[in-house]
């Protein structure tokens, strides 16, 4: 019984992190039909920016928790928005209309480039910014202890999820984006400035990725390669849940999160492979993921 609770708690905490990571990826795909491999780099950029800024702050003698969060938020949003804008305007804009798989390969090239840009800017030694994580301490749920920071991530993830839903369903821009998701040609014909919407969407998706990285910075050691590890997890989540669907990303995150937690607590050897096994299994029965709309199968 204890194990069940441990699985549920670990699972949902991990799921909330997965959702944070995957949300931006699925939004970009939904509107622009681009599976952005460079999303992993945005995550890493957010982590590096937050970690180095926090490093300065704490080295300078700072100790205010709220300030730390402010720093994370500002750094992540800044680096995410700027990089997103640069990628979309500078490169993707020239490539629109090409095959989806070609766009994937192009974003793979961007990922490779950004990986080394980060190495050149931040070096290869690990960055640590554990202070906020440690400062928040842990709480007890029965005999299990959970870090308060992880719970905060859970809350942030829910807030962002609800915020995204609200933004897409209730705001004007959200409605425009949904019309583009539904039918790009028709919305263009109705006067929607698809180009500008693409830029906005990409910037938002990139920022979400950077925020995920920034929030994660205090939990991990920020080293080269975290983007490359994360992007395959994000793929597993969005493909399982259905490309382009926020609900899908949430459900996909929950499924993958619980599967991984189950594996860790019962059969740890399966931990790495269970995530992709789940993804492959879902695709067998639902070829476009649980909530996906695109046509995946040809036969």
């Amino acid at each position: 019984m204890l194990t069940v609770w441990a699985i549920l708690i670990d699972g949902f905490i991990y799921a909330s992190w997965l959702f944070l990571v995957a949300a931006g990826l699925t939004v970009i795909y939904g509107v622009m039909r681009i599976l952005n491999m460079a999303h992993g780099s945005l995550y890493a950029l957010g982590a590096y920016a937050a970690a180095s800024a926090l490093g300065w702050y704490y080295a300078d003698g700072g100790d205010q928790l709220w300030m730390a969060f402010a720093i994370i938020a500002v750094c992540a949003v800044a680096i995410g928005a700027v990089t997103g804008l640069a990628i979309e305007r500078g490169l993707l804009r020239i490539m629109y209309g090409r095959d989806e798989i070609l766009m994937l390969i192009i974003t793979f090239a961007v990922l490779l480039i950004l990986e080394d840009v980060m190495k050149l800017v931040w070096g290869t030694t690990p960055y640590f910014a554990y202070q906020p994580y440690a400062a928040m301490g842990r709480i007890n749920i029965d005999v299990l202890t959970v870090s308060r920071y992880d719970l905060m991530v859970l809350v942030v993830s829910i807030v962002i999820g609800v915020g995204l839903w609200f933004w897409l369903e209730r705001t004007r821009i959200g409605k425009i984006l949904r019309s583009i998701i539904h039918d790009r040609e028709v919305s263009k014909a109705m006067g929607v400035n698809v180009g500008r919407m693409f830029t906005i969407t990409f910037m938002i998706g990139a920022t979400l990725g950077a925020i995920a990285g920034g929030i994660t910075a205090p939990i991990i050691s920020v080293v080269p390669g975290i983007g490359i590890e994360v992007i395959v997890l994000a793929f597993a989540v969005v493909v399982t849940g259905g490309l382009g669907s926020i609900t899908g990303a949430a459900i996909g995150a929950i499924i993958v999160g619980l599967a991984r937690a189950t594996s860790i607590h019962t059969m740890p050897e399966l931990e790495l492979f269970i995530i992709y096994a789940v993804m492959a299994a879902v695709l067998v029965f639902r070829p476009h993921g649980l909530f996906g709309q695109a046509v995946a199968r040809k036969i």
């Binding site: 599976l35 490169l91 020239i94 490539m95 095959d99 989806e100 798989i101 070609l102 994937l104 390969i105 192009i106 793979f108 090239a109 961007v110 990922l111 490779l112 480039i113 950004l114 990986e115 080394d116 840009v117 190495k119 050149l120 290869t124 490359i228 395959v232 793929f235 597993a236 493909v239 490309l243 740890p268 050897e269 399966l270 931990e271 790495l272 492979f273 269970i274 995530i275 992709y276 096994a277 993804m279 492959a280 695709l283 067998v284 070829p287 476009h288 695109a294 995946a296 199968r297 040809k298 036969i299």
Partner: protein
């Protein structure tokens, strides 16, 4: 049997020339060539899929299976004959590809890429957690034999290269015919227009399935050769970034000629050797920039530089 055409004669000629030149080459070059040829074989598999319009981010699965077959065969089954080890790898790979192919070839575009990536990562996940197989460190490949040759006593770098050249030549000759055969053209037709293919009475599923299994087998041979030459296997062979490298090399060379993947693999291997030494933190950036440049300016790969036809639309 058909008359050998010009391509085939050139391939044979080049193979012989390289084999002879290798006798007078320093060890590092011999080793690099072996690695390049083995990589070229794996990339050949990616190219076969690309000709059918599919991009695989999971060719590493078969590359890794081929490598581990050699490693496991030697270490746990006591097999030392190189050809038997390679054969073992092919058999295991074909068995797995025949199962996965039933599923994977029903998908296209992003989904095919993601599914192939997933299966490769599944193998990675299994291997990393197998302590008996050395988990992330992998393990060394034992000494191997080939006919009269024993790697313990002989010049194993040279022999590995000879074996690689021989296998690559045979496979290249086969593929030269394959690309010009009905099934080879059917694959390209599927890439161009699946609807028309159905209306011609061709089964897309069967065509892609056969193509997939053969591409897997060839990838396995490349992995086995790499293991024999490098003397080591580890789980990163199945990590998705390795598959990404294979995709890069496939795009670099293009799908236009059977020799292109080998040439591209050689360029890649040589540049990487220098880049890692001179600028280890810029190697990936170089890859990324070159990839973008090729996509923008030479979409048919560098081979298209040699075969630009005047007037034909491309």
């Amino acid at each position: 049997m058909m008359k050998a055409d010009r391509t085939e004669l050139s391939l044979i000629g080049v193979a012989i020339a390289v084999a002879i030149a290798a006798q007078f080459s320093p060890n590092w070059l011999v080793f690099t060539l072996t690695l390049a040829i083995s990589t070229g074989l794996v990339v050949m598999g990616v190219v076969m899929l690309m000709r059918a319009g599919l991009v695989s981010f999971g060719q590493g699965l078969f590359y890794c299976l081929g490598g581990y077959a050699v490693g496991l065969g030697g270490r746990f089954l006591g097999i030392t004959d190189a050809l038997v080890l390679i054969g073992l790898g092919v058999v295991a790979t074909v068995a797995i590809a025949m199962i996965l192919g039933l599923l994977v070839t029903r998908y296209r575009e992003i989904f095919f890429a993601m599914l192939s990536l997933a299966f490769s990562m599944i193998l990675y996940g299994i291997l990393v957690k197998s302590h008996g197989l050395g988990s992330t460190d992998g393990f060394g490949v034992v000494d191997w034999t080939l006919l009269w040759f024993d790697s313990k006593t002989g010049d194993s770098a040279n022999m590995a290269l000879m074996l690689a050249i021989a296998l690559a030549l045979l496979i290249a000759l086969f593929l030269n015919r394959y690309f010009k055969s009905s099934i080879g053209l059917a694959c390209e037709a599927i890439r161009e227009n699946e609807v028309r293919v159905e209306y011609m009475g061709i089964s897309r599923q069967q065509t892609l399935y056969i193509n997939y299994v053969i591409a897997a087998a060839i990838g396995s041979v490349g992995g086995s050769m790499t293991a024999l030459a490098a003397g080591h296997v580890d789980p990163t062979m199945a990590y998705w970034t390795i598959s990404g490298e294979f995709v890069f090399i496939a795009i670099l060379g293009g799908t236009g000629h059977v020799a292109a993947p080998f040439i591209a693999a050689l360029i890649f291997t040589l540049v990487r050797t220098y880049a890692i030494e001179l600028a280890p933190n810029a190697w990936q950036m170089i890859l990324g920039i070159v990839l973008l440049l090729i996509i923008l300016f030479l979409p048919k790969g560098i081979w298209s530089l040699f075969t630009r036809k005047k007037g034909a639309a491309s």
